[in-house]
């Protein structure tokens, strides 16, 4: 009976894994989710001493991974912007997957923030008594709004499901909503522009942390714009990577090579722009901003494990090289090169977030204080594991029962035609 129900919900014309294998996959990730949920319960009920954070490392694994996940989740708004506003038709193949990825990244980040905050029951204070000067207040407002927009963008994909389609006016509402999608794409872009930027601004405004402090334009430090650029650069790569991953796991061809190429090309161009701006900003910071505050450059890089190499890897190895590979068409055409460059771009953004959260905390500000190191506790890993498991589960169910990749039927048929010619 269950397999019949399952078959009834799976869209026609596509082949999905048999229910047993899918059940196994869901069971595995439910296990990871359960362990993480227990860790979250510990932190909420007992207290945050279950983590290894302390009065120096006030931000730990969770905030670092939050920033990374939201940066990579920028693929949603950027793909939407490119498709609906700049009319890049070939991205129609990945827009549904991008929206689902965005929803997962942002909702996961919000859940982790609720656990990371000492008093989650008072979280609404930020809305009720907002501090207009605080970057964190701006981030909170924008992320909640954008999460709402993402949910609204997810609704049409949901209503397209084969069974839901039959009910009343769902399809009509989906149709009307689809016509207004341009408005949501624009609002999404505006919101994402601000909260990606404010996440960068979080550290750029820290007058007390010369390692992170940057001057900038009006009230926005330069890290505001750098975070937006890096998010836009990493977003499409992340979507390309995830699509390839889903193709590998489901063993089906999901998008055309042309879609891959567009994603890579745009990501490459943005990455080059980001590397340029990042280099300029770093030079200005090392020679002008920090020394003026009594912190010559060597005071940041004289400590053993956080030497100058982090800067070199972030800008050159994980920034310049993938950028060049992605903007160079023949190189980009080779799939392994494309995937490696995309992975490098995402790793570059992750390292940038790591440097701004963990290294800023590690470096002492008082001359007589010392460098401190930090390693997350199992509760921190497990809690984030739960969010990843939640993401995988949502994606798996969406991939199985909703049409995330419209081109899949086309490609499957083309494949069959080809196979029948050979036979």
């Amino acid at each position: 009976m269950v397999s019949a129900l399952d078959r009834a919900w799976i869209p026609r014309g596509v082949v999905r894994a048999p229910l047993t294998r899918f059940g196994l996959w869901v069971g595995l990730w439910l296990g990871v989710f359960a362990v993480g949920a227990y860790a979250m319960y510990l932190c909420l009920a007992d207290g945050l001493f279950h983590t290894n954070m302390d009065n120096r490392y006030v931000f730990g694994l969770w905030i670092f991974l939050d920033l990374t996940v939201i940066a990579l989740g920028a693929g949603a708004f950027f793909t939407g912007f490119l498709l609906y506003v700049l009319r890049k038709k070939e991205l129609k193949a990945v827009i549904n997957s991008a929206v689902v990825l965005g929803l997962i990244c942002y909702s996961g980040a919000m859940v982790i923030l609720a656990v990371d905050v000492g008093q989650p029951l008072r979280a609404w204070f930020t809305y009720w008594y907002p501090n207009a000067h605080s970057m964190l207040a701006e981030v909170t407002f924008c992320i909640t709004c954008y999460l709402l927009v993402l949910c609204i963008e997810y609704v049409p994909i949901l209503l397209k499901n084969r069974r839901l389609r039959g009910i009343g006016g769902y399809l009509v509402f989906e149709h009307e909503l689809h016509k207004l999608m341009v408005v949501f794409a624009l609002i999404g872009t505006l919101l994402s522009f601000f909260h990606q930027g404010s996440l960068g601004g979080l550290f750029g405004v820290l007058r007390g942390r010369p390692f992170a402090f940057r001057e900038g334009f009006a009230i926005w430090p330069s890290t505001f714009f750098l975070f937006i650029l890096s998010a836009i650069a990493a977003g499409p790569s992340f979507i390309a990577l995830t699509t390839w991953l889903v193709e590998k796991i489901s063993r089906r061809r999901l998008i055309s090579a042309e879609a891959y190429d567009t994603l890579a090309r745009i990501s490459g161009k943005m990455l080059m722009l980001y590397v340029l701006m990042k280099s300029l900003d770093t030079l200005f910071w090392l020679n002008q901003t920090a020394p003026a505050r009594g912190f010559p450059a060597h005071r940041f890089y004289e400590f053993g494990n956080f030497g100058g190499w982090t800067l070199f890897i972030e800008i050159v190895i994980l920034g310049l090289l993938p950028g060049l590979a992605l903007i160079h068409a023949p190189l980009r055409a080779k799939r392994p090169v494309l995937l490696a460059a995309a992975l490098a771009a995402c790793a570059g953004v992750t390292l940038n977030r790591f440097v701004l959260t963990i290294q800023t905390m590690a470096l002492p500000t008082l001359p007589f204080d010392r460098l401190m190191s930090y390693w997350p506790s199992w509760q921190e890993f497990a809690a984030f594991g739960a969010v990843v498991a939640y993401g995988v589960l949502v994606y798996s169910f969406s991939f199985r029962y909703l049409t995330l990749f419209p081109q899949e039927r086309e490609l499957t048929r083309a494949e069959l035609m080809q196979r029948s010619q050979e036979a």
């Binding site: 007992d46 207290g47 945050l48 001493f49 954070m53 302390d54 009065n55 120096r56 490392y57 006030v58 931000f59 990371d116 905050v117 000492g118 008093q119 989650p120 008072r122 979280a123 204070f125 930020t126 009720w128 008594y129 907002p130 501090n131 000067h133 605080s134 970057m135 964190l136 207040a137 909170t140 979080l202 405004v205 820290l206 007058r207 007390g208 942390r209 010369p210 003026a292 505050r293 009594g294 010559p296 800023t360 905390m361 500000t365 008082l366 001359p367 007589f368 204080d369 401190m372």
Partner: protein, 249 residues
């Protein structure tokens, strides 16, 4: 975001700490903990997760080590923690200049702790516990903070309240003078407390040999340090020109 101050009554309290007198006994840390109902350490507390509103650093110098008490500097200009708190739990009090940390509104995001250059803020990582019965011996002028909130030195604001109450009892208005716990506790009278708006105290604060920690960051700290020993000034203030003659290990 400061409300209108009572006219003509504003004080800007500040401290001068004489590093040559401080001998690192820690009386100020214990007196501060008693005065402000800071719970005793629990089994798993460490120097990095402990609750201390004032911390005495031991700073190695070429000659004798110097002992430097570091507490919240009640920064006056561009207060780093006030501008970053997302829900205004931190606010410079107009009538005293003290940076108020209100645990009832703090939601424990700890962003102010990241912003503070002096790491003078500490976080309640777990529920505060006192030995059974010790609640009767807590200071009535200060309320205990819940788990998950940030706390910091507020120049013993409980004592400012008591002073205001006593002044009101005699019908007096205007800024009051009082002595914080660490000033009263110091065996060497190394800490001086006063109103930076009053010229004499301000002159003493800016006298020769006085300096402030991380002054070039421009946050306007209101705790001044004084020492006659150049190597201590070099090691403690970290200013580039002093650092040359003070050996820094």
């Amino acid at each position: 975001m400061t409300r209108r101050a009572t006219p003509g009554k504003a004080a800007r309290y500040g401290m001068i700490i004489d590093l040559d007198r401080c001998n690192g006994c820690g009386a100020c840390m214990i007196a501060c903990a008693v005065e402000n109902n800071v719970p005793p350490p629990d089994a798993k507390a460490t120097p990095r997760t402990g609750l201390n509103w004032v911390r005495v650093f031991r700073v190695e110098t070429a000659t004798r080590p110097a002992f430097v008490p570091v507490m919240c500097m009640q920064c006056g200009d561009e207060t780093p923690c006030v501008s970053v708190c997302p829900q205004n739990a931190v606010d410079v009090d107009p009538s005293t200049g003290v940076v108020g940390q209100i645990p009832e509104r703090c939601l424990g995001c700890r962003y102010c702790m990241a912003a503070c250059p002096y790491q003078a803020r500490v976080f309640n990582w777990r529920d505060p516990q006192w030995p059974a019965g010790m609640e009767q011996a807590l200071n009535p002028n200060v309320s205990a903070r819940q788990r998950g909130t940030v706390e910091k030195c507020n120049f013993c604001h409980g004592r400012w309240h008591a002073a205001v109450e006593a002044a009101a009892n005699e019908g007096k208005t205007g800024s009051v003078s009082y002595t914080p716990a660490c000033v009263e506790a110091c065996p060497a009278q190394a800490i001086e407390f006063g109103d930076l708006n009053d010229a004499a105290f301000a002159a003493k604060a800016r006298a020769a040999g006085a300096f402030r920690l991380l002054e070039p960051l421009g946050t306007g700290p209101k705790v001044y340090y004084r020492t006659g020993r150049a190597e201590v000034r070099g090691a403690v203030s970290g200013l580039i020109e002093e650092a040359k003659n003070g050996q820094r290990s």
